[in-house]
Symmetry: C2
Subunit: 285 residues, 2 copies
């Protein structure tokens, strides 16, 4: 970080230039947060596409080149990839470097990466709550983060300057930052994101006869929209957040048992009270 420059960061290195990494690069340049954005990826063609779309200034497949002189390193890779490659990236990151990730399930990742950071690097974990049903840098947008929430998930060993640095990064991109423990984070996203995706998929799969789908109105279309998202990505997320997702599944089975009793009673007043609670809450959202 250079106080004589209008930029917060001289060089930002983004690991993985897909929807999230590409949007981050665009936003950093758009808001004048980074002087240079370097993208790292395994595929030359995709790096070239990211360059052409203005998501990165330079692209490389070489870790050393990616990290030279970097003052902010961001992992925009999926959960599994991030845990696997983190040790070598942390080892090679310049001393004093700020590091974050954008992984959507935290599990033990934050503890693991905090240990890797050691005394000379500043790591705090983050999860910007935004995205798209589309994937890849072609779907990237500089305004993806604007006005959205970002969760940061420190652990007791997270350094204060790392929290401050990562917080100001996302705030500079127009986000509201909220801090919570990794375990709480995983429960929250299971409830508002991972489990709803699972339930929407269950609803689609339950309509056994595909011919029935033509009778669906906008209600069913809305209710099942997220079920059209990337199954590969979601299978990884749900598996990684297994514990919290199983908690939601058990909760839903209990809820449906209760609803069954309401419906079985044949008394509209019982189901009406329950629907009213949902309706009031939905209108507040």
């Amino acid at each position: 970080m250079n106080e004589n420059s209008p930029y917060i960061y001289n060089k930002v290195t983004i690991v993985g230039v897909g929807l999230m990494g590409g949007s981050l690069g665009m936003a950093l340049k758009d808001k004048g947060v980074a002087k240079e954005v370097m993208g790292w990826g395994r595929n030359e063609g995709r790096l070239a596409a990211a360059r052409e779309l203005g998501a990165i200034d330079r692209g490389t497949r070489d870790r050393g080149e990616a990290l030279a002189g970097t003052d902010l390193l961001v992992f925009a890779t999926p959960i599994g990839v991030t845990s696997r490659i983190a040790p070598e990236w942390f080892a090679d990151a310049p001393p004093g470097c700020m590091i974050t990730d954008m992984v959507s399930v935290k599990g033990t990742l934050v503890d693991d990466l905090t240990a890797l950071a050691g005394p000379r690097r500043y790591y705090a974990s983050s999860h910007p709550l935004c995205g798209s049903e589309d994937t890849g840098v072609g779907a990237a947008r500089p305004d993806l983060f604007d006005g959205k929430l970002c969760l940061i998930t420190p652990v007791p060993k997270t350094k204060k300057p790392a929290i401050g640095g990562v917080q100001s990064l996302w705030q500079a991109l127009g986000m509201t930052v909220i801090s919570m423990a990794p375990t709480r984070h995983d429960q929250v996203v299971a409830a508002v994101s991972h489990f709803p995706l699972l339930l929407a998929s269950a609803l689609i799969n339950q309509i056994g006869d595909e011919k029935l789908l033509k009778f669906s109105g906008t209600g069913l279309l809305d209710t099942t929209r997220i079920a059209g998202s990337s199954p590969v990505m979601w299978a990884e997320i749900i598996t990684a957040n297994k514990k919290a997702v199983l908690g939601q599944l058990d909760g839903m089975m209990e809820t449906l048992m209760l609803v069954k009793q309401h419906v079985k009673s044949g008394d509209p007043a019982r189901i009406k009270g329950w629907l009213q609670r949902a309706s009031r809450r939905r209108r507040k959202m």
Copy 2:
């Protein structure tokens, strides 16, 4: 019906002038299907509003006045009201009159009303698959039926001319008409409409901590949109379609048990295959 007139019907009487009845009146006049639209309701103020919005030409609280010279009588009332008032309306309807309803759960209604029609009136039941989260004539729109599906649900005793007449009514309003037995109808709408509403409400109610709702993205907003609809109306619909809704509830509990096994296995490939099936189907919709 008068062959010397450009209209299909000289006088149409709509019982209940809310969202559906009001939209029907507007559409009948918009497409030149009816020369005169008469609205019946219990509330003078609402009838006046319907007249001002152009949903009806005349409004009355008097059944005799409503029925005088009518050649098409349409019940746009909720299920319970329709069953309760049908006997006196059928008794007073002019001989030769065509009659239909727009009730969204059929149960034994079609058999009951077919018996009331006797030999001199032509009754066939219908259910236009369209609507709105808003209620009342203020939300009525002349294009509500355009390009949508209408299910007609004849029973063995339904007269052929009644089927033909009701079919051409909805076709004249731009709808595609599909015929099925009442029991099948109730199963279909339970699967694509009533149960999805119940599931969206369950998802909202399960998120016990209202503070969590602020973390919800567009996914949860879409998935739960229908849960904001009228609890009174839906409590009646779900109770009336109890048997088919309970079938869906049992099916969902089985589906969730299966999903639980997939998630519990910790093998992303198992949940991926299941998500892929949902994703493929959703994209077809």
